[in-house]
């Protein structure tokens, strides 16, 4: 940041201002951290771990080895662990950008005050998304360490899977924020929760999508968690394939679109 102050006006100067203002939005959340919030954050980490232990290891003991796309046979836990990583990156990002973001925007009216300063709606969106990714990255890093310790992936592949999990967080964070601007009441979150749980169950998380009927498979392949799971599984199982770039591209586009929609809608909602 010290370096940035040397930029004068102009594009770089403006970009620098924008980055700083987004950073201030992110930083506000760190000041707001309280013990109760940490409990929520920690439970968000244990959830996928419990699934991994009960289903990946427990149920995994009862089922045969799974065939990866490249033909290799792996333990069920190896198959399920990346799904849990992708899902936790998704839920961490969604929790922050739907429930919390909605609360700040419509309930606390926080951004009414923020937007009276030089901060712009898009900078609020960026700052909040960054915060969601920081939260998500803590989950992902901890979960990857556990996977390495349990022998479910190697340290090298875990290092590659980490940025991929950040991408998953960015992507769902953008989506969540965009969705939040359309929600009107807390009841809408029940619907959102159900949809999220359906994604969690059917996105090739516990069984390969090829085991579903054709129509269902096509539907699943259109939804985002599927791409997140495939991308991360490709990396943690050490089977990179050009198709992973396609999955990553899907997530990048969803993240950027979400952010753009969220920034625009916030401006419309709050700057009437």
């Amino acid at each position: 940041m010290a370096l940035a102050t040397s930029f004068g006006p102009g594009v770089l100067g403006r970009l620098d201002g924008s980055v700083k203002r987004s950073g201030a939005v992110t930083r506000r959340n760190i000041s707001a951290l309280r013990s109760a919030y940490w409990l929520v954050v920690i439970s968000g980490f244990f959830e996928p771990l419990l699934y991994l232990l009960s289903i990946g290891v427990g149920v995994g003991g009862l089922v045969n080895k799974m065939a990866l796309p490249d033909g290799r046979l792996v333990d069920y836990a190896v198959f399920v662990a990346p799904s849990m990583l992708a899902s936790s990156a998704m839920s961490g990002a969604l929790a922050e950008t739907t429930f919390n973001f909605f609360g700040k925007m419509k309930f606390m009216k926080l951004y009414d005050g923020v937007l009276a300063t030089p901060v712009r709606p898009m900078e609020v969106a960026l700052g909040e998304l960054t915060w969601a990714m920081i939260r998500g990255s803590l989950y992902s890093a901890a979960f990857l360490v556990i996977m390495v310790v349990m022998g479910l992936t190697s340290a090298g592949w875990a290092l590659l899977a980490f940025p991929a999990s950040l991408l998953v967080g960015l992507s769902f964070g953008g989506l969540g924020m965009a969705l939040s601007t359309f929600l009107t009441s807390w009841q809408d979150f029940d619907v959102l929760g159900t949809l999220q749980f359906a994604l969690f169950l059917f996105s090739g998380t516990f069984a390969p999508v090829s085991s579903y009927p054709e129509a269902v498979r096509l539907l699943i392949e259109a939804t985002p968690l599927y791409h997140a799971v495939e991308l991360i599984r490709g990396l943690t199982t050490g089977s990179p394939h050009p198709v992973l770039i396609g999955h990553a591209a899907y997530l990048v586009v969803m993240g950027i679109l979400g952010l753009a929609v969220a920034g625009r809608r916030m401006g419309r909602l709050l700057l009437k």
């Binding site: 203002r21 506000r28 707001a32 309280r34 926080l110 009414d112 005050g113 009437k272």
Partner: protein, 334 residues
């Protein structure tokens, strides 16, 4: 004598040309310049073509009842609401294109407090200062100084929630000052506060005014307008119906004194008939009759002289409330 009434020469009104491009601004150019400013929500017109010029160091008020369009105007000036039509220049800049640059130099105290309930009193100020790009270290020092100014130092580490309405308002005012703004916008700074809390807020605002800060405030309290404003506009139904200093408005639209007459259960319309010819003007309100006269005591005597026996008689000086009533036929606060 109230400490607010210290005489202070009103700054000359300036209507010099305004550079449309912003940046270097002539020292005598208006801080705020509006011509034919319009705000519509759908097909409802909240602000209907108003002209306003606010000079540097001036304390300027929008006085009007609820729904007059005061907040809509303030939000346009604060660059958080796009004008639907007309010309608006703030500090010589165009809100449509230079909103970020303008907001950097404004301090805003909105009608509804928008404090951060998850942060402490002091953190509210520090965090807000960061949105202006003020370094954290400087922000902390500034926060201490401002907490002192609004007398909240003891509550620095408290959450916002347990604060009284008056304390929240003072914190919001402190927050509006973190960036040493050129203009401070205050939308109904004391509405809903008890008299003591109001006086504390007034006293702080008066100090700002003395320091030469340009204040723009809205209110539907005439005493607030009289105490704080060098000049004000009276707004009603989205339009400006009068503009001048509080004193000049009272002189122009009202008499020196007013007699308030109450008649218990008797019909006020009948009583008004019997009062005809007394004073300069008679206004019948739902609960009382106002008799406008240069000399109130003399007029009150004339009332009893006609054999009328009011259940209550109050002689007072004329206020902006009377001006408003005269201009619109309604009271400010119903």
């Amino acid at each position: 004598m109230s400490p607010f009434r210290r005489p202070r020469p009103a700054p000359d009104q300036v209507t010099g040309p305004v550079g449309a491009t912003g940046g270097a601004q002539a020292p005598d150019a208006p801080m705020i310049h509006a011509r034919g400013l319009v705000k519509r929500f759908g097909d409802f017109t909240a602000v209907n073509g108003i002209d306003v010029d606010v000079a540097r160091g001036e304390s300027f008020g929008f006085l009007g009842p609820n729904g007059a369009g005061k907040s809509s105007t303030m939000r346009m000036i604060g660059c958080v609401s796009q004008p639907t039509g007309g010309v608006l220049r703030i500090l010589g800049m165009d809100p449509r294109r230079q909103g970020t640059g303008i907001r950097a130099r404004l301090g805003v105290c909105p009608q509804q407090d928008s404090l951060d309930p998850e942060l402490s009193v002091k953190e509210n100020l520090v965090s807000y200062a960061r949105f202006f790009g003020i370094p954290r270290r400087v922000a902390k020092a500034k926060a201490d100084e401002l907490l002192e100014f609004v007398q909240l130092t003891e509550r620095a580490d408290s959450k916002v929630e347990p604060l009284s309405g008056g304390m929240k308002r003072r914190l919001t005012i402190a927050r509006a000052l973190v960036n040493d703004p050129d203009i401070v916008l205050l939308d109904e700074p004391t509405t809903g506060l008890d008299p003591q809390a109001r006086h504390l807020v007034w006293e702080r605002l008066f100090r700002l005014k003395q320091q030469g800060v340009t204040l723009v405030l809205t209110t539907h309290y005439m005493d607030e307008a009289e105490q704080l404003c060098d000049r004000l506009v009276v707004m009603d139904g989205g339009k400006i119906v009068a503009e001048d200093s509080p004193r000049a408005l009272i002189e122009r639209y009202s008499t020196r004194e007013v007699v308030e007459l109450r008649f218990g259960a008797a019909s006020l319309e009948d009583m008004a008939g019997k009062l005809a010819g007394l004073g300069e003007r008679i206004e019948v309100l739902p609960d009382r009759i106002l008799l406008y006269a240069f000399d109130g005591d003399e007029a009150a005597e004339a009332v009893t002289g006609r054999g009328l026996t009011p259940s209550g008689t109050l002689v007072r000086r004329s206020t902006l409330e009377d001006v408003f009533l005269h201009l619109t036929g309604r009271t400010l606060v119903d």
